[in-house]
């Protein structure tokens, strides 16, 4: 059931509320199927059928249920929870069931979210300039693009034949199509099989949109974050998890990805998180520039904000709403990145509903189907060949908030079984303000090998070798630090002391990145690479000096090398790096 047509639907099979307990309402005599959308009570609160037993139907309600009483009516719409798809989803902000929050503010006339107010997910009256891309007489199949409208300055929205209008491999003739100004409900193209194509489609959120097949992703989702691009890259169409205790920087990392990842479309799902954080996104994104083209970031972004104090059932659905919107843009051939912050809140919403249904709990009170639901969600990501022959991708990046920062809990563990990139946030690093506080020993990316060819073609042909060098130095440091903890640094031999110094530059200059510095916040892969080679230059020159008999104290106490820490904030980094490399070499060579 999409809200766009809720006004016209004739409502049939009514039921009567039998009991109310928080967001869970039971109704008697309701003729409904699983997952049907229903309207509950005199105020018509939106809900979804989640259990049927005899003539008792259980409904999760997406709104606050205070004051709802037994005996009030329940109306069935007979359709599953769906989203409205069409132009207008970008530069928009929704709650968990795709109600636009700005429209709700206007309708409710209050800064507080009232109940029983509904609004379609896309503006039904706004007119768009439709430009056909096919002609009368052309054959089209399901999912084929019939025209485009300029949705925002950045994105051309492609109007497609709905995937359920035709059978697989079936085609039909375009009988009428015209350029012009239309609203989303008007027919823009007529097909010979009787389908009227408009800019508006609906899709049930719990069902993946069809695709031809899934391919191995081979292009990185470049994020402009050194530790991610440099050490633990994610592919376009890949999946990643960011688990970490509170205060370790999950949200900042997600925001950085939403700002700088080189996807065409960003769907940002704030699932059960802080209101002020969503406000920050709403205030910042329209002002921030898209690094790819200088347009406002909001022009490629769709926000879904179901904050922690908004109804818990809508929190359960917001992840599905987000991924369905992402799939729709994927069908147009775009690379979409979906950030979900946080999937733990989503899992908790499932747990809360499940316990109200008195289901037998699994681990830590989570429902037994937790693992299946997480897997289903992440499986909707991937690099796809679409039904219309284009290629598009959905990358899914989920934050996880493990209780007490303990990664052995069910949500983290079940997530790790599915995702291929793991960015482990570390409270110790955060405490010493090492940001992003991604632990380089625990994190991994299984996409490394399939992405290396891209980095070698686009950035430098020794990309993988350099990365391995950095990883080796950091590994060695970890081992040495254990000894240092026992005997002190000065007890180590000179070469190991020098290794610690090199590792320190890797940690402080390369792995740390200041998200709040205007330049350092985004680091193109070229700069990431050059920074690494500068540290390697220092490494090579320093070890040569050591071999020539220069004491390690003198090598460490040089003027040029500490400037490695300032590469991050340089706008004209190429020149700076060149100069710095030769100065480091010169200074160290002058010592012997």
């Amino acid at each position: 059931m999409s809200k766009a047509e809720s006004t016209e639907t004739t409502i049939s099979e009514d039921g009567v509320i039998q009991s109310v307990s928080g967001p869970v309402v039971s109704a008697r005599d309701l003729d409904a199927r699983m997952n049907d959308v229903v309207y509950v009570g005199d105020e018509g609160l939106m809900g979804e059928v989640i259990e049927i037993e005899g003539d008792i139907t259980t409904v999760q309600v997406y709104e606050e249920t205070s004051g709802v009483a037994p005996g009030e009516p329940v109306e069935n719409t007979g359709e599953p929870l769906s989203v409205d798809l069409g132009p207008g989803m970008l530069d928009a902000i929704y709650d968990g069931v795709q109600r636009p929050l700005d429209v709700l503010e206007g309708k409710m006339g209050s800064p507080y979210l009232d109940r029983g107010v509904d609004a379609p997910g896309i503006d039904l009256e706004k007119e768009w300039e439709f430009e056909p891309t096919v002609e009368v007489g052309d054959e089209v199949g399901r999912g084929d693009v019939v025209g485009v409208v300029e949705e925002t300055v950045t994105i051309d929205h492609k109007v497609m034949v709905p995937p359920d209008a035709l059978e697989e491999d079936e085609t039909t003739e375009v009988t009428a199509i015209e350029a012009g100004s239309f609203d989303v409900t008007e027919t823009v193209a007529e097909l010979a099989n009787g389908t009227d194509v408009s800019m508006h489609q609906e899709w049930p959120v719990r069902e993946a949109r069809p695709s031809e097949n899934k391919k191995t992703p081979r292009t990185p989702l470049v994020s402009g974050q050194r530790i991610l691009d440099g050490l633990f890259p994610i592919a376009k169409g890949g999946t990643a998890a960011i688990p970490g205790p509170f205060g370790s920087g999950k949200t900042v990392t997600q925001h950085q990805l939403a700002k700088y990842a080189d996807a065409d479309i960003i769907v940002y799902v704030g699932c059960g998180e802080r209101g002020n954080e969503m406000t920050e996104v709403i205030e910042d994104f329209p002002e921030l520039e898209d690094p790819a083209n200088g347009n406002p970031l909001m022009a490629r972004t769709s926000l879904i904000a179901n904050t922690s104090n908004m109804p818990v059932a809508a929190r359960e659905s917001c992840i599905y709403t987000g991924i369905t919107i992402a799939e729709y843009y994927r069908d147009m051939g775009y690379d979409v990145a979906l950030m979900a912050d946080s999937t733990s809140r989503w899992a908790e919403a499932m747990r809360e509903i499940s316990s109200r249904l008195e289901e037998m709990p699994g681990e830590e009170g989570y429902p037994a189907y937790l693992a299946a639901r997480l897997a289903q969600f992440y499986e909707r990501a991937g690099y796809f060949e679409n039904v219309n022959g284009t290629e598009g991708s959905v990358s899914a990046i989920g934050a996880v908030s493990p209780p007490g920062g303990d990664f052995s809990e069910p949500v983290t563990q079940n997530t790790l079984r599915i995702v291929k990139t793991f960015w482990a946030l570390d409270a110790d690093l955060a405490e010493r303000r090492h940001f992003p506080s991604i632990n380089w020993n625990e994190s991994y990316s299984l996409y490394k090998d399939q992405l290396d060819p891209w980095f070698e073609d686009e950035v430098a042909d020794d990309w993988a070798t350099k990365r391995q060098w950095a990883v080796d130095v950091l590994d060695e440091e970890t081992e040495l630090q254990e000894i240092v903890q026992l005997v002190g640094k000065d007890a180590l031999p000179d070469d190991q002391q020098l290794t610690l110094e090199v590792a320190r530059y890797l940690r402080e200059a390369y792995l740390q990145q200041n998200a709040f510095h205007p330049v350092d916040t985004f680091c193109p892969p070229e700069k990431t690479y050059l920074m690494l080679t500068t540290i390697e230059t220092f490494n090579d020159e320093a070890f040569k000096a050591l071999e020539a008999g220069v004491p390690v104290e003198e090598i460490v106490d040089t003027e040029a090398a500490p400037r490695i820490n300032r590469i991050g904030v340089q706008e004209d980094y190429e020149e700076y790096v060149e100069e710095l490399k030769s100065e480091i070499a010169e200074e160290l060579r002058s010592l012997y």
Binding site: E64, L104, E105, N276, I282, G365, E431, G488
Partner: protein
């Protein structure tokens, strides 16, 4: 209004009654016992024919002959500006022998969620006068920043110091926002009479009471009432902030008692428990309190929250601090070790955090070098802390000169920066100058997180340039 004498079951704080009309979820109930005592409660579950009622004052004295009245509305808080200066009980009834309160409005205490689209992002610095907060973990208006403490720690003193000092600069400066006044709303949940007295004496001594509203649910008051107290507090706060333009600081103590009450109700209802017996919906429940902090576009006032919680066993992975930390915008740790060293306030800045700080500091807000100074001090103090462990094993002599400087820095940081006393009020300028005094103990090239320009301007080349000499003494 119909009266029923149909109680079928009494269990812990819950009463089940048979009804023959439909009763709304969350509705308020009055129960009159055979002795003529009136108790209040709330509908927790409503089914055809039977309702479950949670009784705030506890169920003792109720028998099957008690009569039950359903008031047909959800719980409301009578609000008015006249509440300022008053002391109320945990259910919002005056206990200070003052005049009767004539409400201007009666507002639903559940409080609808603020539309994220209507919020305004908090970025106005609040000067608390506490260096460890202002300098390192800055508080801004509309933030929720809890104090994580444990039993026996001076968290109340810290909260009082903030409540007292945070108000002062606002009224002095005034500028064009003079209309926005400052108010403190204090919600006590299950604290002892003695603790409550300390707060009250401090409020009276400093004259803060006249711009405060105090809600008292003491340790011997009914536990279930504690689940209502913070909602009363926040409803009053929202009214004063968003309708009367006050900048409201809400202090809630102790959230641990609140959560215990939630658990008690959950257990009585035989719910499937989550971690450590706390209900699975505790995250949502806490969020519905904490998320009521904030600013709203087009409204003058703000609601800033400082909830205090005592971590059982000083363990921050316990569900109460853990879930709180995931909702609030940072946390301030009160550290037992620092307390036993006599630091006042004993704030451990390393695990403390203010998420909204970065947008609230800098040029035009505090000072242009604030962010860099903060980052450097965090790094240097963390380094010094690490070295302390090592010193215990190898001794100071085995460390390099630089390492020794870090150790000295860490000591001085605690004694001069953090330990300022509960009565000293430092402005941000003073806090940052002390910061530079301390950072100048380190060589210039160790200050890798500070812009060279600022080092040029503020670094003390020798001791005579120290701006704040012996500040703490």
């Amino acid at each position: 209004m119909k009266e029923y004498q149909t109680i079928t079951e009494i269990s812990g704080p819950l009463v089940y009654a048979e009804v023959d009309e439909s009763i709304g979820y969350d509705e308020i109930v009055e129960i009159e016992t055979a002795q003529g005592e009136t108790l209040r409660g709330q509908v927790l579950e409503s089914s055809e024919g039977v309702v479950a009622i949670q009784v705030f004052e506890g169920t003792s004295g109720i028998d099957q002959n008690a009569s039950v009245r359903f008031l047909g509305e959800t719980m409301k808080m009578p609000v008015t500006e006249d509440l300022l200066g008053r002391v109320l009980d945990g259910s919002g009834r005056p206990i200070d022998d003052g005049p009767e309160i004539v409400p201007e409005e009666r507002q639903d205490i559940v409080g609808a969620a603020i539309n994220p689209y209507s919020r305004e992002y908090p970025e106005e610095f609040i000067e608390t006068g506490v260096s460890a907060i202002d300098g390192m973990n800055t508080l801004v208006r509309g933030q929720k920043l809890p104090i994580f403490s444990s039993s026996g720690q001076p968290h109340s003193e810290l909260a009082m110091q903030i409540a007292r000092q945070a108000s002062v600069p606002e009224e002095e400066e005034g500028d064009d926002e003079e209309s926005s006044e400052f108010a403190v709303i204090f919600g006590a949940m299950g604290i002892t009479q003695e603790e409550a007295n300390e707060f009250m004496e401090d409020f009276e001594r400093t004259g803060a009471l006249e711009r405060s509203v105090v809600f008292m649910n003491l340790a011997d008051d009914p536990a279930v009432e504690r689940t209502v107290t913070p909602r009363m507090v926040l409803t009053t706060a929202e009214y004063l902030a968003f309708e009367k333009d006050y900048h409201v600081l809400v202090i809630l103590t102790d959230m641990t008692n609140y959560c215990e009450a939630l658990r008690e109700i959950g257990a009585a209802r035989e719910e499937v428990p989550g971690r450590r017996g706390y209900p699975g919906y505790m995250y949502t429940d806490l969020a519905q309190l904490y998320e009521r902090a904030g600013r709203i576009q087009g409204r003058e006032g703000s609601v800033t929250q400082i909830p205090i919680l005592t971590m059982p066993g000083d363990d921050d992975t316990h569900p109460i601090p853990d879930l709180t930390g995931y909702i609030t915008e940072g946390q301030i740790y009160v550290d037992p070790d620092l307390n036993s060293q006599g630091l006042q306030p004993p704030i451990n800045v390393l695990p403390s955090l203010s998420r909204l700080m970065d947008d609230g500091i800098g040029e035009g807000l505090t000072r242009e070098d604030h962010a860099d100074v903060k980052d450097q001090m965090f790094a240097a103090y963390a380094e010094g802390e690490d070295l302390r462990d090592l010193v215990n094993i190898v001794g100071r002599e085995a460390l390099s000169e630089l390492d020794n400087k870090y150790l000295d820095f860490a000591d001085a940081f605690e004694s001069e920066f953090v330990d300022q006393g509960f009565d000293q009020n430092r402005d941000i300028e003073e806090t940052l100058e002390i910061g530079w005094d301390l950072l100048s103990m380190l060589p210039k090239d160790a200050l890798n997180r500070i812009d060279e320009e600022f080092i040029e301007e503020y670094y003390r080349e020798d001791d005579s340039e120290r701006q704040v000499v012996e500040a703490a003494d």
